[in-house]
Amino acid sequence: MLKGVAAASTGLVLATIVQLGEKSLTYISDFLFVVVTVLAVNRLHQSVPRVLLSVGLIAVLWYRPRQESAHRKP
């Protein structure tokens, strides 16, 4: 019974992630950061804090405030 519950839960979590991704992922770079994060944790077996700090920092810097956005304001 628990095998079926575990499998259904997996589908459930994946559905939540897909729905979350639809709302939050806009640019190609967003998808790239998702892939890099997954690979770092699941393939390279890096710890979550390390991935969060490294990939998170790069992602925040990628979306850093640009000079032109300041010019757009009247």
């Binding site: 628990l2 079926g4 575990a6 499998a7 979350l20 998702v34 979550v48 992602a59 979306y63 850093r64």
Partner: protein, 175 residues
């Protein structure tokens, strides 16, 4: 009783990693509870998480039974406080600071940057679960079925998990 400090340490640490949701910390939770401390097996952890999906309240309440298994009632209380305490305090602090920083130029950058990383962490966690939960074509069909139904229809997740339980009972029941 001598495991209480370790329980507090592990779950307080895992607690602050739940960026985007409890699932984000699942790989670290698995490493610490299954591989390092050997408090339970990966299958037991996955089953706990799965049952937590059906229970009311936060899904990550499923960590409390781990404390109970390891150190009885005291263990359960320690895990409960260690896991939910730090995030509650952190959320309170960040929430207050965040409102004050609404006009700060980097606020949008942080939100935009951390969104894909937190989704990546959630996906990494769910893949860790999937490795242990999806082991043959029947479990794959159940997972895929739940995924498709939830994306196409507005169904209570508890019903799908119960459906999975019925399939599991019918297919995997020892003959």
């Amino acid at each position: 009783m001598k495991q209480l400090p370790a329980l507090a340490r592990v779950f307080a640490y895992v607690s602050v990693l739940t960026v985007g949701g409890g699932m984000a910390a699942f790989p670290e939770l698995k490493t610490l509870t299954v591989d390092v401390h050997k408090w339970l097996t990966l299958q037991q952890l996955i089953h706990l998480y799965s049952v937590g999906q059906m229970a009311p309240g936060p899904k990550m309440m499923m960590v409390v039974p781990i404390g109970e298994w390891v150190a009885g009632l005291a263990g359960a209380v320690v895990v409960l406080l260690a896991f939910f305490g730090p995030t509650a305090v952190l959320t309170l602090i960040v929430g207050r600071v965040w409102n004050r920083l609404a006009q700060w130029r980097w606020t949008t950058s942080i939100q935009k940057g951390l969104a894909p990383v937190s989704i990546g962490l959630l996906l990494a966690g769910s893949l860790t679960v999937a490795k242990g939960a999806v082991t043959d074509w029947i479990t794959a069909a159940v997972a895929l079925g739940a995924l498709v139904i939830l994306l196409l229809r507005s169904v209570s997740p508890a019903i799908l998990v119960l459906g999975g339980a019925v399939v599991g009972a019918l297919v995997f029941f020892p003959k």
